[in-house]
Amino acid sequence: MGFLNYLIFRENYKREEFVLRENKRRECETALNAESLDVFGKEELEEEFRDCTAGDEILKKKISKDLELNIQVVKRIYKIPDNSDLVTRKFNITVKDKVLKGFIVFIDGMTDRVSISNNILQPLMLLSNLDIRENIHDIGEFIYNRLLPFNQIKKVCDFKEITESVNFGGCAVFVDGLECAFAADVKSWEHRSVDTPRSETVIRGSQEAFNEQLRANTALIRKILKDKDLMIESTTIGRRSNTPCAVMYIRDIANDSLVNEVLKRVKSINVDYIFDTGELEQLIEDNTFVAAPQIIATERPDRVATMLSQGNIAVILDGSPYVLVMPATVTEFLHTSEDTNIRYPYVNFIRVIRIIGVVIALLLPGLYIAVTNFHQEMIPTNLLFAIEASRENVPFPSVVEMLIMEFSFELIREAGIRVPGAIGSTIGIVGGLILGQAAVAANLVSPIMIIIVAITALGSFSIPSFSMSFSIRLIRFAYIILGATAGFLGIALGLTINALMLAASKSFGVPFLAPFGPVTKEKYSDKLSRKPIWKQEYRPDYLNPKDIKSQSKISRSWAVKNDKSEGEDDED
């Protein structure tokens, strides 16, 4: 029979084509007015009204004494029962032989059902039947004080607050005859636990990283600082998402104008939704078009705590495992949280290595091109012959060769991040074999070029900040072009323009190149190099903190013979 299908024509089943139509414009304003008026075509308008979302005028409504009306409004706001994860439950409360109707609403999956049953429904439905001997003047107060044995509950009198609470894992309790409802914080959802850092790994130091929970993240920082002056100011971002956001600072250290500026920028963001601190960073940074980042994004609570103690401000957004810290200067992008934990000689050694890594990542390809094209005299004759011999069969000019290699390397890096974990090792093999061996064997590139690109890659891996590393990778291409165009003059031009861009940029009023451009007082001891920990007496001058001194002049009291001198020094 199957064979006949090829011989006899049969018309295929007609498949219905989907056409994406334009939305019909809803006259929500008119429909809303029509609801309460006797107007012509009211039914049609009411039909439209059902498709209209609840606007501010509904959310701003006060809670009514009439429970049925409240239920209607709640159903209207959430479009219940179409909205499937919204749970509503009606019940009765008995207060002194008087039966009151009640109603709760919450979102399934965002709340703790056991808590709702045990701490809200059970007391209301069962405890209310107990023999009550006291006189009840205010039923609302009685329910709040006696019938709801739950620790985080508040009275709410408008639907906007109720909606915000329910959207963020709350349970709203309405009782007939009350002008206010109760909003219980019963949030509980599946989330990632506190894990080890993935992009900022250290050997010495805390192994905790932030997760996507705002409160867990604030707690991680508070746990480290244990400072009564640590402030956590909460706000929400996103007109629709109302994403909770916390601005953290130490009130007797952080500069007031800086705190106000951060709060102003965060609060003035006018977007519908915000999902991550990556978006927030772009919305509050000073200059979008400068390649260098101007805000530090870290997943390490200890790093945030250290920076807060210096006078910086942190911004945490619910749903993001990265916390933003501002202002940021160039030196901070070269520091890691491990730097404070390892000994003075080691940290300075590793910082020198890191700076060399940055210089290599930024300039090595450009310098190589400049030297081989314009300044060959720098290369010893034997080496020059070796380079020339290795390039003999390569058909491209060295700049094209370099661009091909750099592009291929960026391709491997991007593919390595995106490729699923199970086949991740394939990228290494593909990259290593194809780029390393096959490209040389095929005379596409010279072996020296592989070495240059590999050393450059190693240099870029030594940069602790992901964003800074990105910026350097980007600018590197400009140096390659400049080196190929005008040799060292081109490189000098690139350095000048790059330095100008950085010198002109600011992060929340703090020059990006501080403390080197402008040069600030030398008392701050953690710049490119770091003084011994007992000599780090001052906070960064460029942050203008309220309290510039972070420790007494003699922090190691045991090192002083006379105990009295410590007290005297402390008064400095």
Binding site: A486, G487, L493, T496, A504, N544, I548
Partner: protein, 369 residues
């Protein structure tokens, strides 16, 4: 505590002035010293430094009655708006001449030693891009980058001069008095022009605290004086002065003597790098201050719209000067023009001090610190 007002510190100001004076070492300063003073050329650089120190001590003493005013403000208070405009145009013309002469000079040097296959216009355009960027980002950024790029330049220069120490011969600076007192005196007079860029100091004063004026002035003159002296001395110690006067680009010639051997064979390319950075910074500073002075003279709200036209004009003038086939940097006649940078500020300061313009402005809630 760091201030948020547009200011810069004394270190930044010092580096700007040092670079503006020191940059001439990369052109022909040591050779000129040899030409004027023979084996005693190093004395010329010493004498001009001492003379400029005296000049500055007089100027700074007179500035006590002037406060934190720059030359244009002083002119305005002395002779009204007319004098301000006249002085503004004179100084703009002087700095513009300096810019175009050195733009051509540096472009030719770099073309000669590094970009011999590229047309001169291409090298000039690269410089032009640099100075346009400087002007675009403004005085604050230009001054700040001097603070950390100049030490790199000086380190490179010291590396070159230290590398030739084994080949130096003390006999080269004998006879000590070279071609005699007269030559040294005349050479010192002509080469006072090396410090003509000090005029920029009198425009930087409003940007830093008045109490730093002496520190900035003396430190700049002393550091640049030492560098000029060391450049001349090392050059004369390396070459007998008869040969020295024939060297076109002295520091580059010195660098060619060095051979490291193992991985970096020759380091004259380091000269290209430091010369490029230093000249870009210098030309950038001069161009930015030209725009600042023009803006202030003409009362313009913004200087950005005139950046591009001014840059194009400077390139054109530089080409015209080049076609004139005259040495715009070192000829005796031009050296006298360069002295404007020292004479004009002194005249304005003397008038300003006589009229005590600073005290008047302080009484009127002015700018004195």
């Amino acid at each position: 505590m760091m201030k948020t007002r547009m200011t810069f510190g004394s270190w930044e100001a010092i580096t700007v002035l040092v670079n503006s004076i020191f940059v001439q070492v990369f052109l022909s300063f040591p050779r000129d010293m040899a030409a004027y003073g023979g084996s005693a050329g190093w004395m010329v650089s010493l004498i001009i430094t001492v003379v400029v120190l005296i000049y500055f001590s007089i100027s700074s003493a007179l500035y006590e009655n002037i406060g934190s005013l720059d030359l244009l403000d002083i002119s305005e208070r002395v002779g009204g708006r007319v004098l301000k405009i006249i002085v503004g145009f004179l100084i703009t013309a002087f700095l513009f001449f300096e810019l175009t002469a050195f733009l051509g000079g540096f472009s030719q040097v770099l073309k000669m030693i590094s970009l011999d296959k590229s047309p001169l216009g291409f090298v000039e355009i690269l410089f032009l891009i640099g100075i346009i960027a400087c002007a675009y980002f403004g005085i604050e950024a230009v001054v700040r980058i001097n603070a950390f790029l100049l030490p790199v330049v000086i380190a490179g220069f010291l590396l070159i001069t230290a590398g030739v120490i084994p080949q130096m011969d003390i006999n080269n600076i004998f006879p000590v008095m070279g071609e005699g007192y007269g030559s040294i005196a005349m050479g010192s007079l002509y080469k006072l022009s090396a410090y003509s860029s000090i005029i920029i100091l009198f425009f930087m004063i409003p940007f830093f605290k008045k109490k730093y004026i002496k520190r900035v002035g003396y430190m700049s003159i002393l550091i640049s004086g030492l560098l000029l002296l060391w450049a001349t001395l090392s050059f004369l110690l390396l070459y007998p002065y008869q040969i020295a006067v024939d060297n076109k680009i002295p520091v580059f010639q010195m660098a060619k003597h060095i051979e490291f051997g193992s991985f970096l064979q020759r380091i004259e390319s380091v000269f290209v790098l430091i010369c490029s950075i230093s000249s870009l910074l210098y030309l950038g500073v001069v161009f930015t201050f030209i725009l600042h002075i023009m803006q202030k003279t003409l009362g313009l709200k913004k200087s950005k719209p005139i950046i591009l036209p001014m840059a194009v004009i400077s390139l054109t003038v530089s080409d015209i000067l080049k076609r004139m086939d005259a040495d715009m940097v070192n000829s005796k006649a031009v050296n006298m023009i360069w002295l404007t940078g020292l004479v004009l500020p002194l005249i304005i300061i003397i008038f300003g001090a006589c009229k005590k313009v600073g005290k008047k402005s302080a009484e009127g809630g002015g700018e004195i610190d």
